[in-house]
C-alpha cells in the first residue's frame, strides 16, 4: 500500500528559532497533503494543507513546501513557541477525499 513516512522521530529546537519538519511520501497520485498537530492527550488538529499542483503554501507562522520531484513535504514553523510542542503528522488524501494516510509522526520539543 501507499506510505507516508517522516524522516526524524524527534526534533528539539530553541524557543524563537524556526522549525522544519520533513515528510517523504510514495504516492504520486495524491491530490492533497495535509499537516496535523497532536498534543498530548488530544486528537490531531488540522494545521494546513497543500494541493498537489502547488509548491508552497503559507499560513499563520507556518509554511508548507512540496517537492514533487523527490516526493518530499516539509512544514516550517516560524518563531517556534512552547505551545508548538506536539507530534506532527503529515497525511495524504487522494481521489474524492475519502481516505487519509498518515505518517508515523515527528515529536517537536521546544526548549525555553
Amino acid at each position: 500500500g501507499e506510505s507516508v513516512g517522516l524522516h526524524l522521530p524527534t526534533l528539539s529546537v530553541q524557543e524563537g528559532d524556526n522549525s522544519i519538519i520533513n515528510c517523504a511520501y510514495s504516492n504520486s497520485a495524491s491530490d492533497y497533503f495535509i499537516w496535523y498537530k497532536q498534543e498530548s492527550g488530544k486528537g490531531p488538529q488540522f494545521i494546513i494543507d497543500i494541493r498537489s499542483n502547488m509548491d508552497k503554501r503559507q499560513g499563520q507562522r507556518v509554511t508548507v513546501l512540496l517537492n514533487k520531484t523527490v516526493k518530499h513535504l516539509s512544514l516550517q514553523i516560524a518563531a517556534t513557541q512552547p505551545g508548538d510542542s506536539a507530534v506532527y503528522f503529515c497525511a495524504e488524501n487522494k481521489g474524492s477525499f475519502n481516505k487519509f494516510y498518515f505518517g508515523s509522526g515527528t515529536k517537536l520539543n521546544v526548549k525555553p
Partner: protein
C-alpha cells in the same frame, strides 16, 4: 473547538467482554472515520463512512464493526475484546469536499 465527542476517554476491560466506543459529532458531516493509534505511532484507518447506512473497512484489518444509523453517530463495537485490541481509538469527521478532518479526543482502551 471541534464538536466531535468520544466516550469513554479511558476504558479498562477484561478479555472476552463486548464493548462499544461512542462517537458523536454535531457538525452535520457526512464523512466519519475511526483510526487506531498506538503511542507515538501513526494513525491507521480501520473504518469509514460516507453517510447514513454506508460503512467501509479501512486499510488496517480490524475485528471491530461499526454502524451509521444517524448522521451524527458512528459507534465502534468489539464483540470480544482481546489484549491485542489495546490501543487508542480516534474518531474523526469531515465535510464533503474539504481536507480538514476534526478529531475527537480519543478512547484509550486497555484489555486485560
Amino acid at each position: 473547538e471541534a464538536d466531535i465527542y468520544q466516550t469513554p476517554r479511558y476504558l479498562v476491560i477484561g478479555t472476552g467482554k463486548k464493548i462499544t466506543l461512542e462517537c458523536s459529532q454535531t457538525m452535520g458531516h457526512d464523512k466519519m472515520y475511526w483510526y487506531q493509534q498506538d503511542p507515538g505511532m501513526e494513525l491507521h484507518l480501520i473504518h469509514y463512512s460516507y453517510g447514513v447506512n454506508s460503512t467501509e473497512k479501512g486499510d488496517l484489518s480490524s475485528e471491530s464493526t461499526v454502524s451509521r444509523i444517524r448522521t451524527e453517530h458512528f459507534p465502534l463495537t468489539l464483540e470480544s475484546a482481546r489484549p491485542s485490541h489495546t490501543s487508542q481509538y480516534l474518531c474523526a469527521s469531515r465535510e464533503q469536499g474539504t481536507t480538514e478532518a476534526f478529531f475527537g479526543q480519543g478512547t484509550r482502551l486497555t484489555v486485560v
